[in-house]
Amino acid sequence: MSVAEMPDWFVHKKLRGNLIVARWVPAALVGLPVLVLFAIVVYPTVWMFYHAFQDTNMMRLFQGNWSFVGWDNFAAVLSSGRFGDSVLHLMQYLLFGCVLQVILGTILALTLYEVVRKEWLRVILLIVMVLPMMLPPSIVGVLWKFLLTPSNGAVNQALLNLGLIDAHVEWFNAGVSLWAIIIADVWNWTALPLLIVYSGRVSLPPAVYEAARVDGAKGWLVMRRITLPMLKEVIAIAFIVRFMDAFKFVDLVYVMTSGGPAQTSELPAYIAFQRGIREFAIGEAAAYAIIIFAISAVLIVLFLKYLKKVLKAQGFA
């Protein structure tokens, strides 16, 4: 039937709800949570967006006499070397923190699933490997700060005893302190990608593997051609989860180095935090937050689009 021949009732069809649930129900179901989230998030967001363009600081906030400064805050942030450095630090962290965690987590998860045969052993090992995630990041920071104390930390002592180094490593010197943070973070959070990939692997359909076995494929071939492609999406999501958290990353920096020494281990979110909460340059902190959020949002959306394309090409999405 061409469009011209559509029956009258179809042409004048009104969109009706279904009979089961009143039209307002879905809206109400979503309405309450969205309302709550709105109140909790929209208000700060709006507040932030507003004050990012003002010269607000604590005193002016209380006195109510802040004034509009246009893009000044943003300009100040983007032109500051401090911000630029923190972005470099962030890259370093993303590469060695985020990416490393996902790679490690994947290798460990797949090793745990494929190589460890006994079920009870797998359970025990999984529990052990997940323990670091159960500690608050603030405590993890304290623990590693303690461990990495150059003069009498256990790590340096152990490395000395094992003959791997000759003198204490100055973990908290400029240039090294960021690595200390990265080490602590990797220790703390590798368990999450591990858990995600492991769960993904557990849920893969056994039928595919049986078919592979019948075909005579095994070992690395199966891994490369079957397991990894099927887990691509899972690994990507593990990466996104850690990536999203990385941009907010403040606890460890705050506890271990306070961004130091001399701002050599600062990350953007931490600077925002410092400027906003400690130094009360609220307007500038708001600009920071917006910039950080914008960058992360853009990156994630791009990554998701790229991911969708890759998966579609392989017939997954």
């Binding site: 089961i20 179901l29 979503v30 309450l32 949570p33 969205v34 709550v36 989230l37 909790i40 998030v41 208000y43 700060p44 967001t45 932030m48 490690l104 290798i107 190589v115 090992l125 529990i127 052990v128 490997m129 323990l131 159960m134 500690l135 608050p136 405590i139 304290v142 623990l143 303690f146 003069s151 009498n152 930390g153 256990a154 220790w187 858990l195 995600i196 769960s199 557990v202 849920s203 690395w220 071939l221 999406e233 999501i237 999203m244 907010k248 403040v250 953007p268 979110a269 925002a272 935090f273 909460i277 902190a285 708001a286 920071y288 937050a289 950080i292 959020f293 992360s296 949002a297 994630i300």
Partner: protein, 279 residues
């Protein structure tokens, strides 16, 4: 790939796994022995890998002070309260998104909800501080943190519950309607039981996050309400941190999340796999 090289790879992987286990356990081991050292021993120039004397009374000392146990209780109240709220709100929204995607606002709304997890904390901290200050419950209360943590936990709960509800076949609800059940009764009889394992995994994730949170707690509460995460740094002698007490307390605080994981790990794995693989 030959049989031999396959075995070689397996062995290498096992070694790698073993190394990682050592790396994982070493700090935990250190935490454990530090908990039972004396304060002096923890500050030695050459650290000891085994306590000279086992000071079991460290733990007792901590809990002799009732406010410390109270901190654990406070953390518990906040974590549980927030988990319940996140789960309820997340389930409502998740169900709506799963069953009525269009009417519920579509993909855009869902993405916006999820994106909230990406906010840098400072974006929420300052405005919320002033907002709560003006509210009847103030900043230093259970409610303030319970509400605050919703910013991070509710989007996660919504997203995961949406996936779980999508997995519960709509046809089963329809069969229940034809059996004579109203939508609400059908939901309780059919959908809820199917989605329960997923809910457990979501609850676990939310609970552990709230239990371990430090930054917001540090800034918002401190007098009326104290979570264990902000109590631990207070174990100092003058300007010197009492590592042994801090480690002891944090070990105790680690027990609930670990116990939860051990008990509920199957749900966790299933929940994550459903949420992520199909998400």
């Amino acid at each position: 790939m030959s049989e031999q090289s396959a075995r070689l790879v397996r062995t290498l992987l096992l070694i790698f796994l073993g190394l990682w286990l050592i790396l994982t356990l070493f700090p935990l081991y250190w935490q454990f022995i530090t908990a039972f050292k004396s304060a002096a021993e923890t500050n030695r120039t050459i650290p000891t890998f085994w306590p000279e004397v086992w000071h079991f009374e460290n733990l007792a000392a901590i809990f002799a002070e009732p406010s410390n146990f109270g901190a654990l209780v406070d953390s518990f109240i906040i974590a549980t309260g927030n988990t319940v709220a996140s789960l309820v709100l997340g389930s409502l929204a998740g169900y709506a998104f799963a069953r009525f995607p269009r009417q519920a606002g579509g993909e855009n709304l869902a993405f916006w909800i999820l994106s909230n997890r990406m906010f840098p904390p400072v974006a929420v901290l300052v405005p919320m501080f002033f907002l709560f200050d003006a509210m009847p419950w103030g900043t230093d209360s259970y409610l303030s943190l319970i509400i605050l943590y919703l910013v991070f936990n509710m989007p996660l709960a919504t997203w995961l519950m949406m996936v779980f509800f999508r997995d519960a076949p709509r046809e089963l609800e329809e069969a229940a309607y034809l059996d004579g059940y109203t939508p609400l009764r059908a939901f309780v009889k059919v959908t809820l039981p199917l989605v329960l394992p997923g809910m457990i995994s979501v609850a676990m994730l939310c609970w552990i996050f709230a239990w371990n949170e430090y930054l917001f707690a540090n800034l918002f509460v401190g007098t009326q309400v104290r979570t264990f995460t902000i109590v631990i740094p207070t174990f100092t002698h003058g300007s010197q941190s009492l590592w042994n007490l801090q480690m002891a307390f944090s070990m105790v605080a680690m027990l609930p999340p670990v116990a939860l994981f051990i008990l509920l790990r199957r749900y966790m794995v299933r929940g994550l796999s459903l949420g992520v693989v199909k998400g």
